[in-house]
Symmetry: C2
Subunit: 338 residues, 2 copies
Amino acid sequence: MTMNQQILLDNRPAGEATAANFKLVQTPIAELQEGQVLVRHHFLSLDPYMRGRMNESKSYADPQPLGEVMIGGTVGEVLESRHPKFKAGDAVVGMGGWQTHSVVDANVFGALRKVDTTHVPLSHYLGAVGMPGVTAWYGLVKIIAPKAGETVTVSAASGAVGSAYGALAKARGCRVVGIAGGKDKCDYVVNELGFDACIDYKEHKDYLSLSKALRQACPNGIDGHFENVGGMVLDAVMLRTNAFARIALCGMIAGYDGAPLPMTNPALILVNRIRFEGFIVSEHMEVWPEALQELGSLVGTGKLRPRETVAQGLEAAPDAFLGLLKGKNFGKQLVKLI
Amino acid sequence: MTMNQQILLDNRPAGEATAANFKLVQTPIAELQEGQVLVRHHFLSLDPYMRGRMNESKSYADPQPLGEVMIGGTVGEVLESRHPKFKAGDAVVGMGGWQTHSVVDANVFGALRKVDTTHVPLSHYLGAVGMPGVTAWYGLVKIIAPKAGETVTVSAASGAVGSAYGALAKARGCRVVGIAGGKDKCDYVVNELGFDACIDYKEHKDYLSLSKALRQACPNGIDGHFENVGGMVLDAVMLRTNAFARIALCGMIAGYDGAPLPMTNPALILVNRIRFEGFIVSEHMEVWPEALQELGSLVGTGKLRPRETVAQGLEAAPDAFLGLLKGKNFGKQLVKLI
């Protein structure tokens, strides 16, 4: 009998998350019921939103229950199916969680989706052609809605969301400027992702200094910004916004560990007549087909070449996740499970 | 020869504005050129935005030039006209500034507008049926766009913008809750302006305490908010917003005197998927006719009974203005010039 390896949330973090918050267990895999599909996960996605769910307090999502498998996106292969739409060998994407296998009720709308790996590698369905890619698409297309020639910026530019954002913005004729941590990441953002410029925030001691660097990289000001981080980066960007700038707010990674992270000068929202919008991509399922089509085409034609950082084996997931929260990954953080 | 009394900006404030920043002068009134109109001002409007323009730094508006008449809205009566559309005796509204008379080039679009004082007292064209009223209208109708039954809030609720906002929100079937400073203002907001509730922010030492009071007054949460102040009030409101709340940001009065006023927990924009929008009503002239029609009808039918605080004589303008910045006025702050 095949055993399922699982990582549970064992206890909640007090402040910073640690490996001791997680627990690895083995459980038997139950026999399939009618309508169910057994999936062997090839890759597990690690994403910043998971940190928010580890807290007790209700955010936009319910907290991750204690003693249950950590939630998370997965891609894999169908091993066995009792659902007419799936058969053994199908490549599928779903929310299988931090475990080697999952038993999915395939009748639940959106629970499992077949994908085509002819032009797009399987793992990219967790990144550029998956939730992070659609996140970039929604923020850029639906909130920022840039005109050709406008300047748009993004924090965490080398990550899964940022890299997709860059390609989507270039496809719309924008000047796109990234903000990332470290020279390696910035070089990658410019040389491989095709951004017009990238600023290393680690070279700046405060938001005023970072803002000066942004002024150089964005000589016509900033018309749209996609925020994945919050804090100093957002403060610096706001100082450089043009009138009627749009800011899509998708992540506040720097604030998850407890202390609220203030916005230094919210009066700029008025001064520059900024439209600010927070969003969660899972609440906008209606855009997924259009977004995935464009993202798949950008990857298939080589215009978007996302990088991945791959940890090996389920037991490596907690450390890889903690590294992600500190920005140690380079591109999309995955765990390879086979 | 009639002399014009004028108040100039003599020097810029270092920190808090004071009466010494202003200077009263007398100047002769030049003879009218073709197309010009001489107006005797009856009322001068005092508004918080004037404080922003006293600073050197460019905000959304250019700074008020030193040595020139302070800009400001005025209503009055045509004394003499060399423009075919205006004749002596006409009641007019314009941007005459802090002076007893103005010579207006009536060919400039929007410089001077005739108004009907049959149902609406002249002074109200500077308040409920003028710029502050349209400001409330734009924020409520175009940004918040509430559905009947939703809960909407406003800071500085007893002021010119807040009182119009309350009447407009009630006309749309909303629960409307004000925030104001002091028991007298709160009583007025509920008893005379018809708000469902009003919270005295002076009774609360911090935003958490104010937020608890808001929870009581808004049992179904807050769907829309109009911000005239910033700081503690905005922080408290943000904690009580429902998912997909809209916040119209129109004033940050508490921040004008120098120190930037941070937003305590901007992550709430993401957590509650808030749409935040800063705006300046003069950039949306296309809505003025529709807004003024509704506002005039609310005043004409007695559904909106705005209160005014009237200082007497041009020389009283500086002190009245400084009092406005400290919230000493009750309703629309005017200076009566005749």
